[in-house]
């Protein structure tokens, strides 16, 4: 499901859930690009475990990337004005996670939608949550 204009958005709608790529290859590339590489915590399970972590992690801001990517697919003409993400618990690399969002507010005059955002692990435990304000064309 995609939306093109503010008129397409329905209060309470859930954006189609999505399983992002949390593979070590992806987290390694991401960590390298943002300058987080070297410690192993995003690149290597055994190095991460040696640091007391349960395994290699998905960088917190990569979770933000998963959420913005989902919003952009849902609203191809939308512009994210603001996104706020709370890192509640680690997102483990090589583990299945689901990214979801629900429409919680619509301002038809301003063309703005507020979304509640969540990243869940396979046990349906919240790892990341947040909100986004997205601007959509009015017509």
């Amino acid at each position: 499901m995609t939306v093109q204009t503010i008129g397409d958005v329905v209060f309470g709608d859930e954006i189609t859930p999505w399983q992002p790529d949390t593979s070590l290859q992806a987290t390694r590339s991401f960590a390298h690009a943002v300058g987080y590489s070297g410690s192993g915590r995003f690149e290597d399970h055994s190095k991460a475990r040696a640091q007391g972590l349960p395994g290699a992690l998905v960088p917190g801001i990569m979770g933000m990337g998963f959420l913005t990517s989902m919003i952009h697919r849902w609203a191809p003409r939308g512009k994210i004005k603001h996104i706020d993400t709370v890192f509640r618990a680690p997102v483990l690399a090589d583990h299945e996670h689901t990214v979801t969002a629900v429409v919680t507010d619509i301002d038809e005059e301003l063309g703005e939608v507020v979304l509640d955002l969540t990243i869940l692990n396979a046990q349906e435990e919240t790892r990341v949550f947040g909100t986004a304000t997205v601007h959509l064309p009015i017509a």
């Binding site: 999505w18 991401f30 943002v34 990337g65 998963f66 990517s69 697919r73 191809p76 603001h82």
Partner: protein, 147 residues
Amino acid sequence: MTDIDDLRSKFLDLEFDRTGFVIDAEQSATVAKTSGETRSEFIDTTDPNFEACAPILASLASGRRLPIDFPKLGGISMDGGKAVACIKPVRPGIKLTGKTHLHDIYAKSGRSGRMIFLVSRMQLYDDSGEHLATTDSRQVIRERPDK
């Protein structure tokens, strides 16, 4: 116990860091692609509307994490989250200046004790002084019981 009101009165809204950045287009595209982005303006560096994606803006780090005279709070510090406000598209390759201040300091108490939240806000400007974006970094410190 740390006096939150005292910290707020002494440190909020005072710029404590100014750092220059230039975002690399290929790095921003890699960040977007590995996050699952599909829109051309974030993944195709030849797109005339190519712009830096939100996660790479959130990755920009100030030279100092806290004001130079900010007291040591002890305890375990964790990355509590990030926020990005996009005001104008940030084009890779241009000079950016990030001006950082403490935007908020607050505490929450729970069964395991008190957590102190420090929100550092970086405002990103281009060379002409136009405000392009704002990023917030939320640092969480679990207070030691004896503090």
